[in-house]
Point group: C2
Amino acid sequence: MRTASAASAASSPKIAPPPAAPHTFDKGNLALRLGSAAAFAVFFFTLLYFGERPWAKLTWLALMAVVLVMGVRELCLIARKVGHHPSVFGGALVGGGFLLHFYLSSSAGVIATDPLPLWAVLAGGGMAIHFGALLFSKDPLENALSSQAITWMAALYMGLGTGFMVKLFMLDGTTLANSGARFILALFLIVWLGDTGAYFLGSAVGKHKLAPRVSPKKSWEGALGNVLGNLAGAFIIRTWVCTQWSVVDAIAIALLLGLVGQLGDLAESTWKRSAGVKDSNMGSLGIPGHGGMLDRVDSLVFAAPMLYAYLFFVHGLN
Amino acid sequence: MRTASAASAASSPKIAPPPAAPHTFDKGNLALRLGSAAAFAVFFFTLLYFGERPWAKLTWLALMAVVLVMGVRELCLIARKVGHHPSVFGGALVGGGFLLHFYLSSSAGVIATDPLPLWAVLAGGGMAIHFGALLFSKDPLENALSSQAITWMAALYMGLGTGFMVKLFMLDGTTLANSGARFILALFLIVWLGDTGAYFLGSAVGKHKLAPRVSPKKSWEGALGNVLGNLAGAFIIRTWVCTQWSVVDAIAIALLLGLVGQLGDLAESTWKRSAGVKDSNMGSLGIPGHGGMLDRVDSLVFAAPMLYAYLFFVHGLN
């Protein structure tokens, strides 16, 4: 539909002013930022502490469902900004199918009993997205292909991201009690200390651009700080939380989560950049003081499956 | 990137001349058409006859891999025609992951042993598609979101479509020998007799347009002929092939496959229409005399998982 010239013409004004990097701190609303962070922290650690209670697992599932819907909505809004017509409902429905699969497949504690198989979510999801657009979409035909594809991608991105976080929360460890909560704490601490290390080292000595096209404020020094933060997080976890991890486990997990976390951050920046958006919530509903949901979870979405895969293939947990 | 006015302006010339319906017979190359159909029939029935031999299962997997790559390529070409930059390699790679999962999960005859879990294909696929585009794509950023989404959709559409056909081929029935081959024969005969019934009844008495926007030559009379063809196919199968099916099984399978088959056909027409393409192979490499691969498999891609789901949930096969 769009000629190359039209594309470049339309895009040039977007590319000109480099948008802020996703993790730039907004000092304007620091109080609001700290307030909502504190509120989340209390809620978060309460759930982790009672991690083995069914109500805690259900509450975590509900929290992930909220994250899923907010993320799908933001991704669809970004796509609509550039003329596609993805379905927030379709994306949330199919993404919810993934989320429910991961909850049900481990709620019995046994992966073998699988009331909602992943293949059924995929087959049903394809029919829901493609047939739903065919039967109910009032949008013009021009973008049928890209709109249905973006609905699929939103469902996969947020459904798998939140689904693996549910899977991790519900994992039964072999040695330590309340293992699932320990793994979630590991995931968040390793990723968050990585973000923090990247921010401080990057803003202190950041010189060499990492990906100027995609995220102008990121530097290789920041990437190094990210890895150092990941390693610090992994060793803190190994010392006090997942004490069964070997030194090799801690290093491997830190490097793996650090790698996919940073790439995930860049990938999400690319999507925003392709739509000329700086803040994934686009100034609308977001997390008070923290902007968009996508900006908060872009690293976790890939770090969660990576941590689960390590625990599954290396430690034999499922 | 595109304004509404620009979109409608760009699209109007495409929408004006209604393209031929996907299943219109091309009398020009009838000989070539019959020739390649005959060659496929010999190959197809040989594989079905030896369906329980490992080499036949491997050959079927290889055939499905060829179908997968051709379909992914066509879908990506259609998308590239309208300015997106999906990756044929990425789509074929991740689609191949789905295909391999379905082969490996049942090659042992037991679904429990799952060397390549579906969740791993999904998690790895997301990283391959999004990180691959980030690291290796030379395409402009404008379409990063839609291009990666269409790569995902191509992988899902063809990977699941061919994957479920491999799954069906390798199913072990409870009563009859060589059940997998019987199910594949059922799938193809029910869908093909549906297409045939739609063509003849549609061209004979077709009056009331079914979906003028999407596929102008389709009529409600054709849709009825499709269902009659599906029913005829299901009862032929019940009488001589899957003799364990009850009358209810035959009717339910015919109606379910007929419904998703026709919707799948329309969905694929929508994608072609959105790009102003008539033939999914776009005049390039296709099946001699039969045009594009997508046009041949658009019904099977959704009918296969539907048949598998029926056999799994109703007959308890897996």
